[in-house]
């Protein structure tokens, strides 16, 4: 049972974020795109936080977020976008879909660990 689901098409980012979280005692699951993310979340209802890229093949992160809320009816899981994007329009779409936060890559684990732990409580 994972606590955080990391959704990114880049294995480099999945490993980078996953290794950091595991070193800090957090259980992590991985998905390679939005569709995979939906399936992993459906299979593991214990997931409390999703860290998700925006630009991905098959299904992007914002579409995945909208489907988490509308199709899975899961309003409990916190979703944070980890992306190179920072356009106001994308952030607004994310907010409307119910994301909790936004991180512009690169991932700096120490800067966000305390906030992640709070969101897992």
């Amino acid at each position: 049972m994972a606590q955080i689901l990391v959704v990114d098409d880049s294995a480099t980012v999945r490993n980078e974020v996953g290794d950091f979280l595991k070193k800090n005692g957090i259980e992590v699951a991985f998905a390679v795109d939005g569709r995979d993310g939906l399936a992993k979340l459906k299979a593991d209802p214990k997931i409390k936080l999703i860290v998700c890229d925006v630009n991905m093949p098959v299904m992007d992160g914002l579409t995945m977020t909208e489907k988490v809320r509308s199709e899975l009816n899961n309003n409990a899981v916190n979703i944070i976008m980890l992306t190179t994007e920072s356009s106001p329009a994308m952030k607004e779409r994310g907010k409307a879909a119910g994301i909790k936060g936004w991180i512009v890559k690169p991932f700096k684990g120490e800067a966000v660990l305390a906030s992640f732990k709070k969101l897992l409580m």
Binding site: E16, P106, V112
Partner: protein, 187 residues
């Protein structure tokens, strides 16, 4: 048509994005210079990552050329905090794709200041011989860059500009970058 000031702005924004992503928080000496096409290694071993940034009236095609030398492998291993022996061909592809993603992500963020609707692709790989077909894309501007780290490690980038209408803007380089990477912005 892409105006001269737009070409100059794009070149400088792209160069700034390259510098930004390679420099990171390291003490490396990173130098980015404009070079000719002849400076780029065209061997089959060179991995070429492609990302496009598009709007309604233009498409920017950004390429990273990564030669699989020991020095580039060691650099990427250090950049992504891996042991050198972790760098197999799959890792090299992944690392070079993510490095291109970071570079173009910064370029894309800067472009959003001037163009309301721009979208960036995910990284893909192409072969060198595909580039000769780019001239079918109504190119208005091409520029090649060499990245040299600590005078020892080299990568190359190319920027291809394809326009379908007048493209004119002047980038404001006096403006501070207000995006703090790595920080969590809570809503």
């Amino acid at each position: 048509m892409t105006t001269i000031q737009a070409k100059e702005s794009l070149d400088r924004l792209f160069k700034q994005a390259i510098q930004n992503s390679f420099q990171g928080s390291t003490d490396d000496v990173v130098e980015v210079v404009v070079v000719s096409d002849d400076d780029i290694d065209k061997s089959n071993q060179t991995q070429i990552v492609v990302i496009t940034i598009s709007s309604y009236t233009f498409r920017f095609i950004c390429l990273l050329y990564c030669e699989p030398t020991d020095s580039t492998k060691q650099y990427l291993a250090r950049y992504y905090k891996k042991e050198s022996n972790d760098i197999d061909s799959d890792s090299l592809r992944e690392f070079s794709a993510e490095l291109t993603n970071m570079t173009c992500g910064k370029f894309n963020r800067d472009l959003v200041e001037y163009f309301a609707h721009v979208g960036m692709s995910t990284p893909n790989f192409i072969e060198y011989r595909s580039i000769s077909h780019f001239n079918k894309l109504h190119l208005s501007h091409v520029k090649h860059f060499k990245v040299e780290i600590n005078q020892a490690i080299r990568f190359h980038f190319s920027l291809f500009v394809s326009d379908y209408a007048n493209l004119d803007f002047k980038a404001n380089f006096a403006k501070e970058d207000d995006v703090e990477s790595g920080e969590l912005e809570l809503f």
